[in-house]
C-alpha cells in the first residue's frame, strides 16, 4: 500500500500547513487510504460509534455544566431548571443521561466483538488492555456523573460504592474519609465528583487516542481472525468504511433518538427524581443498569456462601472478597490475551471456545439481571453460581480449551472464502482509491 507516502494537495494553504505540520497527510494516511480488511462485518462499527458517543457526551456535558450547580442544596433544583427552563435543556440532559447508557451498550458490544473474533490476541494485547482501561475510566465517570443530580439513588449509590473502599485492611476507613472529604457523602463529595466527572472524559479521550494509535499500528482484526496477506484482502478506509460506519451510525442514532425522545427515563431509576435525603434510605439501592453485573459479583460474597467460607474466610472478610472479586472481574479481562492459549483468533474456527464465549455473554446478562434484584433467594444463589462461572470460564476453561480444542482449518487468506483460491481480485478492490 502507498498509505504512508505523502499525497500532493491541490490547495496551497493545505500544502503550506501540511509541509510544516502534517495533519492532512496524517488524516489521509490514517482515515483515507488506511487499509481495512474487506470482510469486516457490522460488529466493526462499534468502535466508531463509541467515539461518536464520547464526543456527544463531552459536548452535551460541557453545555450542562454551564447550567448545573454543584451544591447539595441546589444541585437537584438546578437539574430541574435545566429540564424546565433552559432552552432545549431537556434535550441536552436526556441525551447526556441516555448517552451514558448508549456508551455502555456500544462498548459492551465492541468488547464482545473483540472477545468473539479474538481481537485481543497477539499482536493486539496492548490495544485490548487500553480498551479495558477505557472501560474502567468510563465506569468511574458514569458513577460520579450519576451522583451529580443529587437524587436519592445518587446519594445512596455514592454512599454504598464509596464505602466499598472501607474493606481495604488498615487504611480503608481513612481512605473513605479522604474520598468523601468529610465523614459522610456531603457537599465536598459532590464538589469533587463534579470536578472529576468533568476531568475523566478528557482522560478517556487521551486513552482513546492511544487506543487508536495502537490500532493503526496493528491494524484491524477481521471476522476470520487471520492476518491480512496483501492488498487483495483490504479496501481503503475511505470511502468503504466511512460509508459502512455511516450506516451503523444512522441505525444507532435512530435507536438513541427513540430513547431520548420517547423513553428517556426507561433506563433510569425513578427514585432519582426524589431529592437526596440522608435520613431516608431507599428500599433497595441499585446502581445504574450497566453496573449491575459487577454489583451482583460484589454482593455474591456473603459470610454464609460455601465458596467463601471454604476458601476465603480464613484470609479476609466477605466484604473485601466481594470488592476484590468485583475489581478482579475487570482485571481478568485485561489478562485475557495470556489466558487464552489458542493461536486461533476467531471463534468461527473454534468449535468449543465459541460456546464458552456465548455462555460468558449469557452469564454476564444473568449477573446483570440478578444484580437488580433484592438480595434474597433464589437471586443470591443464582448470582453466586454466575460469579463462579465467570471466573471459572475465564481463568480455567479459557486456557484449558485453548490446549485441548482442535480448531477447524483456517482459510488461506481473507479473500479465499469468497474467491475460491484467493488473491486474484486485487484490481477490483483497490480501484476505488479516490481523491485525497
Amino acid at each position: 500500500m502507498s498509505s504512508h507516502s505523502a499525497p500532493s494537495f491541490k490547495n496551497p494553504v493545505v500544502r503550506w500547513v501540511d509541509s510544516r505540520l502534517p495533519v492532512f497527510s496524517y488524516m489521509h494516511a490514517e482515515y483515507g487510504t488506511f487499509p481495512m480488511p474487506k470482510n469486516l462485518n457490522y460488529f466493526w462499527n462499534f468502535g466508531a460509534l463509541a467515539m461518536v458517543v464520547l464526543i456527544t457526551m463531552i459536548l452535551t456535558g460541557i453545555m450542562l455544566a454551564m447550567q448545573y450547580t454543584a451544591h447539595i442544596d441546589l444541585a437537584f433544583d438546578s437539574v430541574e431548571r435545566i429540564m424546565r427552563d433552559v432552552n432545549f435543556g431537556w434535550l441536552l440532559r436526556y441525551v447526556h443521561m441516555n448517552g451514558a447508557s448508549m456508551f455502555f451498550i456500544v462498548v459492551y458490544i465492541h468488547m464482545f466483538r473483540g472477545l468473539y473474533y479474538g481481537s485481543f490476541k497477539q499482536p493486539r494485547e496492548l490495544l485490548w488492555i487500553l480498551g479495558v482501561v477505557i472501560l474502567v475510566l468510563m465506569m468511574g465517570t458514569a458513577f460520579m456523573g450519576y451522583v451529580l443530580p443529587w437524587g436519592q439513588m445518587s446519594f445512596w449509590g455514592a454512599t454504598v460504592i464509596t464505602n466499598l473502599f472501607s474493606a481495604i485492611p488498615l487504611v480503608g476507613d481513612s481512605i473513605v474519609t479522604w474520598l468523601w472529604g468529610g465523614f459522610s457523602v456531603d457537599n465536598p463529595t459532590l464538589n469533587r465528583f463534579f470536578a472529576l466527572h468533568y476531568l475523566f472524559p478528557f482522560l478517556i479521550l487521551g486513552v482513546v487516542m492511544l487506543h487508536v494509535v495502537a490500532l493503526h499500528v496493528t491494524k484491524s482484526n477481521n471476522p476470520t481472525g487471520i492476518d491480512v496477506r496483501g492488498p487483495q484482502d483490504t479496501v481503503p478506509f475511505h470511502p468503504y468504511f466511512t460509508a459502512k460506519d455511516s450506516v451503523g451510525l444512522g441505525v444507532f442514532l435512530l435507536i438513541f433518538a427513540f430513547f431520548v425522545f420517547f423513553a428517556p427515563n426507561y433506563m433510569g431509576h425513578p427514585d432519582n427524581y426524589i431529592q437526596a435525603d440522608p435520613l431516608v434510605t431507599p428500599a433497595h439501592i441499585v446502581p445504574e443498569w450497566y453496573f449491575l453485573p459487577y454489583y451482583a459479583i460484589l454482593r455474591s460474597f456473603t459470610d454464609d456462601w460455601w465458596f467463601f467460607s471454604w476458601f476465603l474466610s480464613w484470609i479476609m472478610d466477605a466484604k473485601l472478597a466481594g470488592v476484590l472479586a468485583m475489581f478482579g472481574s475487570l482485571i481478568v479481562l485485561a489478562l485475557l490475551p495470556w489466558l487464552d492459549t489458542s493461536k486461533v483468533r476467531s471463534n468461527r474456527y473454534r468449535p468449543m471456545n465459541k460456546w464458552l464465549v456465548i455462555a460468558l455473554v449469557i452469564d454476564f446478562i444473568i449477573l446483570g439481571w440478578v444484580g437488580g434484584k433484592p438480595a434474597e433467594e433464589p437471586y443470591v444463589a443464582i448470582a453466586q453460581w454466575s460469579t463462579l462461572f465467570y471466573f471459572f470460564a475465564l481463568l480455567v476453561l479459557t486456557p484449558l480449551i485453548g490446549w485441548i480444542e482442535r480448531p477447524r482449518p483456517l482459510p488461506a487468506s481473507i479473500s479465499e472464502p469468497v474467491l475460491k483460491g484467493g488473491g486474484s481480485a486485487a484490481g477490483a478492490t483497490t480501484a476505488k482509491m479516490e481523491k485525497s
Binding site: 474487506k38 459502512k244 425522545f261 423513553a263 427515563n265 425513578p270 476505488k432
Partner: protein, 283 residues
C-alpha cells in the same frame, strides 16, 4: 470500626425507624403493593399531549385539596400558561397567594401577593414545620411525584412492552390515580398493624400511609361542570401532576417525531450510498 461504617449503621437505623412509621416506602417482597388499574392517559404514545381540560381540573383539585399539605417547589405560576390559561388568568391565580419578599429599603421583609414569576407557594416554611403539622410524616413535594413513583408495570417484560408503546412514566400516574381513588381500604385487612394516624392503602408499598383519604365525591366543585367523582378527581389530578413532572413532554415528542423521520430517511440514503460504494467489492 471506623466512622464510615458507623455512619452507615446510623443511617440504616434511622431508615429502619422511618420505615417502621411508614415514612419510607419499603417495597420488600413481604409488603409488595398491589398494582393499580392501568388507565388511558392522553399524554402517552408518540403524539401524546396533555388533556388541558383534565389538567386544569387537576390544578383545581391540587389547589383546593392537596395544596393544604403538599408543596410543588419546581413549579412556577408562569408555567400555568402551558395549561391554556391566559397571562391575566395566571396573574389572578398567583395573586391569591402571599409570598415573603424583601428586604425593602428599610431592611424589612414584607408580604406581597405572588406573581407569575414566583414558584408555587409551599404550605409549610420548611420540612420540620411540615412534619410537625402532620404527625411526623412529611407530605412529599408533588412536582415530580408522577415521575418518581413510576416504578413500572411489574416485570422486565411488561416494562419493555410499555416502553415500546411509549407509555413513559404512566405507571406513576396509574399509581397516583389508584392511591387516591380505590386504594384506601377501611378497615385494614387482617394482619396489618397500623399506628395511630395511619391508614391502609393497598397501593402503598408496605400498606401504611400517613395521608388520610383526601378525595371525596364532590369534594371540589369543578368549574367546567364535570361530575366530581372520586375517580374523576384522582384522574384529573394525576394528569395535572404528570404535566407538572414533565412540562416539556409535548415539545419532546413533537421534536422526536421529526428527528426519527429525518433519521429514518437519512439512514435509508446512507444504506444506498454504502451499497453503491461496495457494489464491486467481492467480500
Amino acid at each position: 470500626m471506623g466512622i464510615a461504617v458507623k455512619s452507615v449503621r446510623l443511617t440504616v437505623a434511622i431508615a429502619a425507624l422511618a420505615g417502621a412509621v411508614g415514612l419510607a416506602s419499603p417495597a420488600t417482597a413481604a409488603g409488595k403493593a398491589a398494582y393499580p388499574e392501568q388507565m388511558e392517559w392522553s399524554w402517552t404514545g408518540p403524539f401524546g399531549t396533555f388533556d388541558r381540560a383534565s389538567a386544569q381540573r387537576g390544578l383545581q383539585v391540587y389547589t383546593q385539596v392537596c395544596s393544604s399539605c403538599h408543596g410543588m417547589d419546581q413549579l412556577y405560576y408562569r408555567n400555568l400558561t402551558d395549561l391554556g390559561y391566559t397571562d391575566d388568568q395566571v396573574k389572578e391565580f398567583a395573586a391569591q397567594f402571599e409570598v415573603q419578599d424583601g428586604p425593602d429599603s428599610f431592611g424589612e421583609m414584607y408580604m406581597r401577593p405572588a406573581e407569575p414569576s414566583d414558584p408555587f407557594v409551599n404550605p409549610f416554611p420548611n420540612q420540620a414545620a411540615a412534619r410537625s403539622a402532620n404527625g411526623g410524616a412529611y407530605p412529599a413535594d408533588l412536582s415530580l411525584i408522577a415521575k418518581n413513583r413510576a416504578h413500572g408495570f411489574g416485570s422486565i417484560g411488561a416494562n419493555f412492552l410499555a416502553m415500546l408503546q411509549i407509555k413513559g412514566s404512566s405507571s406513576g400516574a396509574d399509581y397516583l390515580h389508584g392511591l387516591l381513588s380505590d386504594g384506601y381500604v377501611d378497615p385494614a385487612p387482617e394482619g396489618v398493624d397500623l399506628m395511630p394516624g395511619q391508614w391502609y392503602n393497598k397501593y402503598m408499598a408496605g400498606g401504611a400511609i400517613a395521608m388520610p383519604p383526601p378525595i371525596y365525591p364532590d369534594g371540589v366543585e369543578y368549574e367546567d361542570g364535570t361530575e366530581a367523582t372520586v375517580s374523576q378527581q384522582a384522574y384529573d389530578v394525576a394528569t395535572f401532576l404528570a404535566w407538572a413532572a414533565e412540562p416539556r413532554l409535548e415539545e419532546r415528542k413533537e421534536t422526536g417525531v421529526k428527528v426519527l423521520l429525518f433519521l429514518a430517511i437519512f439512514t435509508g440514503l446512507l444504506i444506498a450510498v454504502k451499497r453503491r460504494t461496495w457494489a464491486d467489492v467481492k467480500h
